[in-house]
Amino acid sequence: MPEQYKLILKHIDQPGYTPDIECYLRHGGYEALRQALATPPRDLPDGKQLSPQEVVREDVKASGLRGRGGAGFSAGLKWSFVDRRSGKPIYLICNADESEPGTFKDRQIIHKDPHQLIEGMVISCWANDVKLAYIYIRGEMPQGARLLNQALAEARAKGFLGKNILGSGRDVEIYVHRGAGAYICGEETGLIESLEGKRAYPRIKPPYFPAILGLYMCPTIVNNVETLCHVKHIVTMGAGEYAKLGTPNNTGTRIVSLSGDVKRPGYYEIQVGRVTLGELIYHENFGQGLKAGRSLKAIIPGGSSSKVLKAGEVFKLNRKAADGQMTKVDVPLLDLPYDFDSLQGAGTMSGSSAIIVMDDSRSMVDCLANLSEFYAHESCGQCTPCREGALWLAKGLHRLSHGEGRKADADYLQHIAQNIQGRTICAFGEAASWPVLSFVKKFREEFEARGAADEAARSKGAGPARDLKIAASPNQH
């Protein structure tokens, strides 16, 4: 039976579980940190020896942990890219900007179990020789920032943070930095600029890879809240045990934010790949199905930026057969295992693991118009294709969803989006264009019908008065 597997959420929402350090300690808190600090050096077959820090870094790599922020990049590999020879300080940043529409998992941790994050961060800092780390928290979460600061003070008072943590001779300090309310501050280099006190303009890569030229041009690790929490559990369980959770190459657990037209939206922690999309939507342990009388129309599987999936789609996925051979198998939409690789195989991504379900009451034109308005409003405007294209898309969709459409708008929108993706400074370009490309591709009839209907109405002289200025105002942040 598909079930939740609560590793990160183990205590969260348990009656009586509070975010203070005493409660955390009663539940075994900071034992992983003690354990990490006591890691013995490890002898390798080739006679070399790994330092305790290297052992933990190796374990994170061996655990298969992939980033929970969006791109699903191996955390251990990311840590291994850090330039450790530059002589400059290494920084760690926890990305707590959680702004991808549909995503509401990091805030559960921050608000309900902040010490779990802090413990994961202190271990990660120690393992990477980081003395100073930041939590960059979304501006709209003032209570979260307050709780984190309180938790940091508690940890400092108990010697888990600050000078000479737990007598290890190592110093680790963590500061909370609040954003001011912009989605682009979640993009890691935009975040870094913002942290430096500048406008959150993402940096060009090359040359500004955070692992080499990050915060203050020093090597920097940026990880998501959930990713850093997992580090604690890898230490506790050991890399091997941890890797048994989930499925190969998609190890561990993941918190899924389920929203939209399901009976029981919410956040659910699952073993990666052990639960299917269909189960997440329909099973009684998860979404409990659609509202009465409704049928499934589409799923946005990994946050608003991911490409939409259409009800009834069947995907050809690579599967390892019993004899070890790779074969292609047909997998219907609802049977897609919810993991990184399966969703990539289905032409989309698990992104921030936010599933948005749309039933047949939804107009794809209106939904897309809504999404595009978000992206037009959030584009930082640094690079031409995204700056101009995002608003262009939003204006076109606003028109189409307000009775001023054209049949040709489907092509029009696709052209605009194609000229954004892959040509921008940061992945926001993809985020803004993928919804358009996938909605229009998979629901083309709906877009064309809407435009054709407007054309017909106009030729009869009906149609609304022309007042199509997009709602987004220039003076919103």
Partner: protein, 572 residues
């Protein structure tokens, strides 16, 4: 911060180290390019695709990139399709049947049928790389960027000052597609924004390349400009409540690739294609920034910096740039005068030469401005030698800044020193000359380009002189008391050289005719020297310079023709 005026070029090592090269292909043509090239600060960095294409003779269109500014990579105009040698699972290059390396064209990782471009301005090349600056995919990417830049652009070229110098206009013709698909409302932004005392901004024309911001912050060191609002509403703005007012603001007008930033001084004055361009020098301080004078029918309309990496890079200060209006002043000295009466050059020169030739040796003093050209100072020095005259010049001190402006506000103090008009410090003989006049040992005074009444030689002393000869451009208290008044020329009205504080010998050309009787001082001096000394000299500036180079040890070996447009540095 780049500081072209204060960094002396490193002496060339005896044997230059071999330049490591990388072999790449540009549009199918093999070319070896250096592995490292200078970045905006002159530091060696891996060669970029844009630099490599340039070496292969392919200009990659760009807006935000500027060789002397930090790279921003924001306009995306320079996206270029490329390929890299394929590496097999055995980590060895995969070969074609003919043994050549197989090239993997860049594609979108999530959509392998779609080509992917890289921004040429910031992407380093690697061995075996192939660049396709003219492939259909590259062209499509370029067209799309242009289309995006134009959708919200007002397209008001007929009334735009930048027309003729606009990169948006130019690239649209070369790379654009004629019809835009855009059918929405344009974004409207502020127009004719008064950014500061010298700059007006039209935000609707701005392509947000941030050149102006980067220059102001990273070169001028003034964090005055930034962007407000977000996304397509992004708007260039000065810091709220603060005027954009440093001494380098007008460089942003030069840098702006479109007509968004305009100079209040030049706005709407003249279509640029009517302007004659003359290579010249700024005379407002000892840095000697290279400039281009834009003039039409003898009227100067603007100064612009002319790139010289040994002196000013591509920049100049606002004070220097705007210091040209006096040239056209109505009260210019336009008549040769002898004792208050208009006379001819021939008569005046004859009278003066007779006066000076018959003066008791040692009874003449010459005060020559360090704003005169080196040739003029040289001729004055020859005159002084013949007359046994004491000479000096007038110091002009100001505050230096961190970029270009120099504390010496004379353009040619080094010329005054090297020709022997002064020794070390300018002006140390002035008191001595004043005493000489007071005690009667100095009876004749020749002044070129200074008002000596401001230098301790007041009207009372001038009244004691037997002869006062004054050459100048504008009237002053000295010319008012002179027996002989010789109208001179602004640098823009003659040819010659200045030597900057670092010893850079630089020549300048004539942009405009001088008014009335005014003649280049070197011509007048040349005749005077000829008459007084009896020796004949050269009648061209080239000949005069070459002769001077033979006579003045510091200039040994120089020739006018070899100075080039950017000059030669001599030891000082």
């Amino acid at each position: 911060m780049s500081n072209p005026a204060t960094t002396t070029p490193a002496p060339a090592p005896a044997v230059p180290p071999p330049v490591e090269k990388i072999r790449i292909k540009v549009d199918g043509r093999e070319i070896d390019v250096p592995k490292m090239m200078p970045n905006w600060q002159g530091k060696l960095e891996p060669t970029t695709m844009l630099q490599a294409c340039h070496m292969a003779g392919q200009e990659v269109p760009h807006y935000c990139y500027h060789p002397k500014l930090p790279v921003a990579g924001n306009c995306r105009m320079c996206l270029v399709e490329f390929g890299t040698p394929m590496i097999g699972p055995d980590r060895k290059p995969v070969l074609n049947e003919d043994g050549s390396p197989k090239i993997a064209r860049s594609v979108l990782p999530y959509e392998p049928q779609t080509p992917r471009g890289a921004i040429a301005c910031a992407t380093p090349i690697s061995p075996g790389m192939e660049l396709y600056p003219n492939s259909p995919a590259t062209k499509q990417m370029r067209e799309a960027v242009l289309e995006s830049l134009l959708i919200n652009h007002p397209l008001d070229c007929p009334i735009c000052d930048q027309a003729g110098e606009c990169k948006l206009q130019e690239y649209s013709v070369q790379h654009g597609q004629s019809a835009s698909r855009f059918v929405e409302e344009k974004v409207h932004k502020p127009k004719a924004v008064d950014l500061g005392p010298r700059i007006v901004l039209d935000d609707e024309r701005c392509v947000l390349c941030t050149r102006c911001i980067r220059f102001t912050k990273d070169i001028a060191g003034d964090d005055a400009l930034g962007i407000i609002n977000r996304g397509s509403y992004n708007t260039i703005s000065a810091f709220p409540g603060r005027a954009f007012d440093n001494n380098y603001t007008l460089n942003t007008v030069d840098l702006c690739p479109v007509g968004a930033l305009t100079s209040k001084d030049f706005r709407f004055k003249m279509r640029v294609w009517f302007l004659k361009e003359t290579k010249s020098l700024c005379t407002s301080c000892g840095t000697g920034c290279n400039i281009t004078i834009g003039s039409r029918e003898g009227v100067i309309h603007r100064y612009e910096p002319r790139e010289n990496n040994a002196v000013n890079g591509p920049w100049m200060c606002d004070a220097g740039r705007l210091n040209y209006k006096w040239v056209g002043r109505k009260d210019r000295l336009t008549e040769v005068q002898s004792r208050g009466q208009r006379t001819t050059w021939a008569t005046a020169i004859k009278e003066i030469s007779e006066r000076l030739a018959s003066a008791t040796p040692g009874s003449t003093a010459i005060i020559a401005s360090a704003r005169q050209t080196t040739e003029e100072l040289y001729l004055l020095k020859r005159l002084a030698t013949r007359l046994g005259a004491v000479t000096d010049s007038v110091p002009r001190a100001g505050n230096a800044d961190r970029l270009l402006v120099c504390d010496d506000r004379n353009p040619n103090s080094q010329g005054a020193r090297l020709t022997g008009i002064t020794f070390t410090e300018l002006g140390i003989q002035l008191a001595w000359i004043a005493d000489g006049i007071r005690n009667g040992s100095i009876r004749h005074l020749v002044v070129f380009g200074e008002d000596v009444t401001q230098q301790g030689i007041g009207a009372d002393l001038l009244g004691k002189l037997e002869t006062l000869i004054a050459s100048d451009i504008l009237p002053n208290a000295t010319t008012a008391r002179a027996a002989f008044v010789l109208p001179g020329c602004a640098a823009a009205e003659k040819r010659g050289t200045f030597i900057n504080v670092k010893g850079r010998v630089q020549r300048f050309e004539k942009a405009a005719e001088a008014p009335g009787d005014a003649r280049p001082e070197w011509e007048v001096l040349h005749e005077l020297v000829e008459k007084v000394t009896g020796s004949t000299g050269f009648t061209t500036i080239e000949g005069l310079f070459n002769q001077m180079a033979k006579d003045v040890p510091a200039l040994a070996g120089l020739e006018w023709g070899k100075l080039g447009d950017t000059g030669v540095t001599v030891a000082i």
